[in-house]
Symmetry: C2
Subunit: 400 residues, 2 copies
């Protein structure tokens, strides 16, 4: 018997290339397609509607740039396509729109969310024009955890398409933040494109997924091989893809139970904060100032809607204390919080999401985001509240 | 002491996000920069000249599309940029050029390689025009293993730039196939952009690297966060990046020895094939027909230059036998060979690289590639030659 020491290439010796014709390649191909089927079943779609990418950023870019180029290749650059989005999308959506505008390849309308971080579907509908090829609204926000009314927006878009007898605008949702807790059934959501990322699902490999409705035309961003129907050339990251499919299935199985548990913890956290910071800071928003006399000048704002939010997200602002400072102080006490999207952390400005909620606020102040996870307990919440009190005492000079 | 159970997000619980401000993020950032430094040292460049991508396909696309858009943003779409390449580049280069032409964003000149699979630097030089922004020639070919005269082409380009007092055309090389065996010193090579991929280095994670000379302007393909100087947004695949840096360092340390060992095996393999297939098949090319009477009608061609080729590559053609058939027969005997780039395996046509060497050959015939690796021994070669003889006897009807 011959041993297969004479390999196609090094890749084959580690894990075979699913696009190779030989036996190892065929076995790899089977693994790839099994993973694809598993994900398709969770989304209630067909296997061929699942495209693997390198991550959430690429999935969002492929959905947006792919739809834009499909229009441009058909209609030319004189009749620019129009796209609609909101002002609190992830940078991989917002910056892609800005980039397309800069390259003079698209026109963009940015709809502002309400004070609670939720967009009004009617305002989206109002922006739809004859050349609107795409609407992109995120499922849940990465900083403030607010859940957008995807089904309602989908209804408005379908209504428009039916009335005008057109196949577009297409509806894309960046569901990266929703994978662990929200309904991923594409039929129920009513979207045409949906992005997921392995980096937000525990145990998943570093890959992205883009669901693309079969009938929707999309143009690839990368030139290259025939992988993923030519929509995403490049050797498939098989190991990470298999991990992703297993991890997504696993979070789906505990989703309901875990959502309940975390929502309870989240609400307890918020209640504790509000009980200490007892008096409302800004009209119409939950919050308060610290009951304790020495903290009485520290108002607190809970950012984002309290009902329609991810079960694992709490985001707060102390309007006089820069959030970056709080994050560093919390980190020193072993609590990993965040002041804005890590993707934008190298910039000096504060969170553009918090700024979108309160345009007249000091942009340096921002908000502090706490994300609860499967290991988070009530004790962690208590210790965090206690740590915050100690930090506020230390940072007295910022508010007195 | 507080435990860090209150995570920024799930990503943090697995491996922290290097762009996060908290302690875990800072530790991750340090790991990322150490890996970058390690790679920069091997290439003899500065750390900030190393950009991490998702793989070789993306590295090539970023180099090409990035340079094209940098021109377009400066000079507008009326004065289209011109690019020069060869007809045996990897699909992630060739198809990217075709895509840019289709989108009416660039003009492309494709220089044909010589019969031996090597491009003539003078022919590249001849194609340079006033609007040539980029020349892209691969370091070593993925199918036939031929090594291109990168230093000579670099000299021609530098000479032109000096004469015209211009900073472009820039010179890009896809070095994905060369990482294990060839000199990666950018200064000696004289290139401005160089692509590497983890999928071709044993033990490396599934990431890509793009070296970009500091002064060279490049525009990002993806819209998104600030990672990789904004040139490649998206959460860094830290685990794979660290693996890549360690693996690249490791192959560099055994490169010389392994190159010698494999070149000897490769030449033994070719000699064995030629000793059986004793008489030259096509004028000017090495090859022959089988000495054994029953095989006398089977000519053999060794594809690609015998001197300037990767130490681990042997590519042969039996002009009457479709290569796909041979690959399947070899696979059944436990030998993993390949008939064309796995990236193009879903297409019915044969290898475009073999077609480039002999334009009048039957496109179904193609070539069979054998890649030797660190586990390959003389015994494997002997068994492969024996297996080929058995297969040829079985496939008699194809050539009698």
């Amino acid at each position: 018997m011959l041993k297969s020491n004479l390999y196609l290439d090094y890749a084959a010796s580690v894990s075979a290339n699913p696009s190779s014709v030989h036996v190892l390649g065929m076995l790899a191909k089977k693994k790839l397609e099994n993973a694809r089927k598993k994900i398709a079943d969770i989304l209630n779609v067909r296997s061929e509607e699942i495209i693997f990418t390198s991550g959430g950023t690429e999935s969002n870019n492929l959905a947006i740039q792919g739809a834009i180029w499909s229009w441009l290749e058909k209609k030319g650059k004189k009749n620019l396509p129009h796209i609609i989005t909101t002002n609190i999308e992830h940078p991989s959506v917002l910056e892609t729109y800005k980039m397309l505008e800069k390259k003079k390849l698209a026109q963009v309308s940015i709809v502002e969310v309400e004070k609670n971080g939720i967009v009004d579907p009617k305002k989206i509908k109002k922006e739809i024009k004859k050349n609107t090829v795409l609407v992109s609204v995120m499922y849940a926000n990465n900083e403030i955890g607010t859940i957008q009314p995807i089904k309602e927006i989908a209804k408005e878009i379908k209504h428009y398409r039916k009335k005008e007898q057109k196949s577009f605008p297409y509806f894309h949702t960046d569901a990266v933040q929703g994978a662990n807790y929200l309904d991923l059934n594409v039929e129920r959501l009513g979207v045409d494109l949906l992005s997921l990322s392995g980096s937000k699902i525990e145990g998943a490999g570093r890959v992205g997924v883009l669901y693309k409705r079969k009938s929707l035309p999309l143009v690839n961003i990368f030139g290259g091989g025939d992988q993923e129907q030519g929509l995403r050339p490049g050797t498939e990251n098989l190991e990470a893809i298999v991990k992703f499919s297993t991890a997504l299935k696993s979070v789906q199985s505990v989703k309901e139970k875990e959502t309940k548990r975390l929502a309870k913890l989240r609400d307890y956290f918020i209640a504790e904060l509000l009980s200490i910071f007892s008096h409302c800071a800004l009209p119409g928003l939950p919050g308060g100032t610290l009951a304790d006399k020495k903290f009485k000048e520290v108002p607190l704002i809970i950012n984002g809607d309290l009902e329609n939010r991810l079960p694992n997200n709490v985001n707060i602002t102390f309007p006089k204390i820069p959030s970056d400072l709080l994050v560093i102080e919390l980190s020193a006490k072993g609590i990993m919080a965040s002041s804005k999207s890590a993707c934008k952390s190298s910039r000096a400005e504060g969170s553009y999401v918090i700024k979108a909620l309160r345009p007249d606020s000091d942009s340096e102040i921002g908000g502090v985001r706490f994300s609860l996870g499967k290991n988070t307990t009530k004790k962690d919440i208590d210790e965090t509240v206690k740590a915050l009190s100690l930090i506020l005492a230390k940072l007295k000079k910022w508010y007195t």
